[in-house]
């Protein structure tokens, strides 16, 4: 394998962790939306923080570091549209996902508290899990990742 192949392989590994982690978070979040008991919501949201978030975090760092390395190694320019747009969107996706995650954390804390206290669903918990702003932020982060993937494949401006 050439240096380019190694760098690309690790960059793509980061991208799989980032996008795959995001997909896993989306799936678990959707299941929490329809869950009927606080204990189930607490478990699903805990899975997001223990499995999906580490994958997203590692993937985000690896994809960026090795992506930048690839730009240098392959002789791409930072002035090229797909390169700078992907870096900007990488930051946007992280900011949106981080902000959306704060809403999920709040719902997770409330779900764990209710699970300890009789495991009965309340309208407040349901509202927290289905919070339109929190969900919109998280899913917008996922859509931003999709746009980055499109940029990486089509390479507009190249």
């Amino acid at each position: 394998m050439s240096t380019y192949d190694w760098l690309l392989s690790i960059h793509i590994t980061g991208a799989f962790l980032y996008v795959g982690g995001g997909a896993a978070a989306g799936i678990l979040n959707l299941r929490a939306w329809y869950a009927e008991r606080p204990s189930e919501i607490a478990l699903l949201l805990r899975l997001i923080s223990r499995i999906a978030v580490p994958a997203i975090g590692i993937g985000a760092v690896v994809s960026l570091v090795f992506g930048v390395w690839l730009v240098h190694h392959a002789g791409y320019s930072y002035g090229t549209f797909w390169v700078w747009a992907a870096i900007v969107l990488w930051a946007v996706a992280g900011a949106l996902g981080g902000r959306g995650g704060q809403y999920q954390s709040k719902a997770g804390v409330e779900a764990a508290r209710l699970a300890e206290a009789g495991d009965t669903m309340t309208p407040e918990l349901r509202a927290l899990v289905r919070d339109p702003v929190g969900n919109a932020l998280s899913y917008a982060s996922g859509l931003t990742l999709l746009v980055i993937l499109i940029l990486m494949i089509w390479k507009p401006g190249q």
């Binding site: 394998m1 690309l8 982690g21 997909a23 989306g26 799936i27 008991r37 899975l47 499995i51």
Partner: protein, 149 residues
Amino acid sequence: MIAFLRPHSWDFPLFLHVFGAMVLFGATLATVGLAFAGPRVPRLARSAFWTLLAVSIPAWVVMRIGAQWIYSKEHNVIFTKDPTWVGVGFGVADAGLLFLLVTTGVAFWWQRSGKVVAGRIVGGLSLVYLALLVVAWLAMSGKWGGLAG
């Protein structure tokens, strides 16, 4: 030239292939988590079953259609005999369908019976499949055996 310059007509099939594979990886990761976190929680069995049926299998179909489409464009252009990375990719993809169908069947059994052993089997199969997906993306992105074989 370091990177192989791909014609733009190959972009959409490649996008389908990669996007399907990434969602498939995410859905498998979620299934592993659900299966190991709650083999005794019947409602998590339902979540695992529906994740497999409504996300993993459709994502596999998208990934596999994209794979065949891009293969039809690359074959006889950048290779005539399948290189190692293509063989690994097809092997994991096609064996993966069997894995997915068996895992979905066991997840259905887990959902209906609530048996802990069924949850453990779903978790184990999903973990093996997750490892196979990692091998496939490493082989394909690293072009094991060389671009043209």
